[in-house]
């Protein structure tokens, strides 16, 4: 019973630490993964106020070409607020945007049918469109039939030149990942009242250069606007840095909580070991009377403590691993017990078990056998 309680303390301590650390780790890696898929190499540029001075796409392209060693791709980004018509209905959730020929590389999609937007389409302001898989299905029943057909956005007709491969394997839904229309940015801009283009997406060749790239873009824009109130430049990688920082803090907090739960388990083990030795003073007296030396008594107690705490530790790891996958499944993340958590929690709790098996035992072994025999 006593050794079961000792084990229980260790099992709870070890399992709690493993579950806690592993689940939060799993959660963090899920977050980072989803963030990375958004593109950490992107820098978003947006101009807030176009009234005083304007930013011409040609200037932007000139700047982009000058810094070709830093930048990989660039596209203007134009939002189209006019609705996409489907017969008499409108598809209001479909996102419609104007982009350059680089956009397909930036988002890293593949074409399923036809072709994507070309440089020539943008230059000539052609009325062509590339559809998302869901959009193509909704409009034409069969995605492969879409190429060559016409669609209407507001009152403007566009020729469908291509369909993008299905992105979301799980579901196709209105407003989802596969519900979009891409137009050449020049054609999209023409539909808005002001033909100004206020947003750009630029990707960097190396995310380590993100800061340098951001600085270059900012100084270029400052030269045009003479004030940094008119534009914002945000590198996704800097958001990632921020997130990493927060995750770091979370990890520290977590470590603290895990430490406290280990400590509580340790105090429990300590207590049981102390009581155990006190209770067994008579046994120690008998063994000493029969000829056991101090070392032998010590050995017996330390081995008992070691066996109890190791069994507890191993059971704790098993419970922790099962608990981790159970919690992971429950909250829908991929949580795997981390080696670090397993190693630290096991060694700390077994260490405590050993230490607090050793300390009272060493005191007990020193007892005078007649005093030890007299206790009941």
């Amino acid at each position: 019973m006593r050794s079961f309680l000792t084990m229980l303390g260790i099992i709870i301590g070890v399992a709690a630490v493993i579950i806690l650390v592993s689940v939060v780790n799993g959660y963090m890696s899920t977050m980072i993964e989803s963030f990375t898929s958004m593109g950490v190499d992107r820098i978003n540029v947006s101009v807030n106020n176009m009234s005083s001075r304007s930013l011409d796409p040609d200037d932007m392209y000139e700047f982009f070409d000058e810094n070709y060693e830093l930048f990989e791709n660039m596209t203007p980004s134009v939002n189209v607020s006019m609705p996409l018509k489907n017969g008499n209905d409108t598809m209001s959730s479909t996102s419609i945007g104007g982009y350059s020929e680089d956009y397909i590389d930036i988002v890293d999609y593949d074409i399923a049918y036809g072709r994507s937007i070309s440089y020539a389409d943008c230059e000539a302001e052609r009325s062509v469109a590339v559809l998302g898989y869901y959009t193509a299905l909704e409009l034409f029943d069969n995605a492969s039939d879409a190429v060559g057909q016409k669609i209407k956005i507001g009152n403007n007709a566009f020729n469908v030149i291509g369909v993008i491969e299905r992105q979301d394997e799980d579901e196709l839904e209105e407003g989802g990942t596969d519900d979009f229309v891409w137009l050449p940015y020049s054609a999209a801009a023409k539909m808005n009242f002001s033909r100004n283009i206020s947003s750009y997406i630029i990707t960097v060749r190396d995310t380590d250069d993100s800061d340098e790239c951001t600085d270059a873009i900012e100084s270029f824009l400052f030269d045009i606007f003479k004030s940094d109130d008119y534009y914002t430049v945000v590198a996704n990688s800097s958001l990632l840095d921020e997130m990493n920082e927060q995750i770091g803090m979370l990890s520290m907090m977590l470590g603290g909580i895990a430490g406290i739960s280990l400590l509580v388990a340790g105090v429990g083990v300590m207590n049981i070991m102390l009581v155990s030795v006190t209770e067994r003073t008579k046994e120690i007296g008998i063994r000493k009377a029969l000829g056991a030396k101090k070392g032998v008594i010590m050995q017996q107690f330390v081995i008992e403590a070691a066996v109890t705490s190791s069994i507890g530790g191993v059971l704790g790891i098993i419970v922790g691993a099962l608990g981790t996958s159970a919690v992971g499944t429950a909250i829908g993340i991929n949580a795997v017990p981390t080696m670090g958590a397993v190693a630290v929690s096991f060694s700390v709790s077994v260490g405590i078990g050993l230490l607090f098996g050793y300390m009272p035992a060493s005191r007990a072994a020193l007892l005078n056998p007649i005093d030890a025999l007299r206790t009941d």
């Binding site: 008998i286 029969l290 000829g291 032998v296 020193l366």
Partner: protein, 282 residues
Amino acid sequence: MSIFSKKTDTELTEAESERTEAAEKGRSNVMDDGYDDDGVAPGEPLIELIDIHKIYVMGGEEVRANDGITLTINKGEFVAIVGKSGSGKSTLMNIIGALDVPTYGEYILAGEDTSEMTDDELSEIRNRRIGFIFQQYNLLMKLNLLENVELPLLYKGYGKREREEKAMEALRRVGLEDKWRNTPHQLSGGQQQRVSIARALCAKPSIILADEPTGALDSKTSRDVLGLITELNKEGNTIVMITHDPSIAMYSKRVVEIMDGKIIFDGDVNAYADHRKLQNGN
């Protein structure tokens, strides 16, 4: 020590090395038949207590539990140490049992002076020389009978098979070999005391030291246990029995009576009976 003597083997005289060899041989013989190698022949002094004093300080006052006890017990004797509670007989028993050391005085057990021994040395002496029979049996309740009886052999460093053989033999001697799997609380008091006798026997000690062996038993069981102890003495074992009950002391051959830490009577059991009659008569 043995390594040291081997190193200097070449420097030893022939006589000396012969003696060493003989001692080693004698020792291995002892290991073979399991008898303790105390080297004391029957009738020669085994226990020599010389002017033993044990002084406790309690509440600032000196209590002389043993106040100059000198006593010799020879191999093969059956001695009862009698005294009322508080007479100092338990203190004497602790010293004879090497559970305690005297404040001053000398205790020589089979030729070895125990007065200055360390805790571990005393453990070893107890293990080799003394078999204890306690009033409260002092068996380990979690272990079965065989494991209980084995303990002295375990601390003596015997292997598992040898331990089990010898422990089983001792259990057979006290008539409990078929119960070896049981734990002590499945037994009656008399049976438990027989287990503790088996435990005291199995390592073949020089002395069997019985502290109120019948104190917790009814009179019939007491007679059985005392009969067993008497038998052990007839087989050549040296018995020292501590008791407060003069009628129990009658089972022994020699009685030593203690009062206020001093020996007030030491003699043959018949002389003790006369001494008692005389006292009661007055």
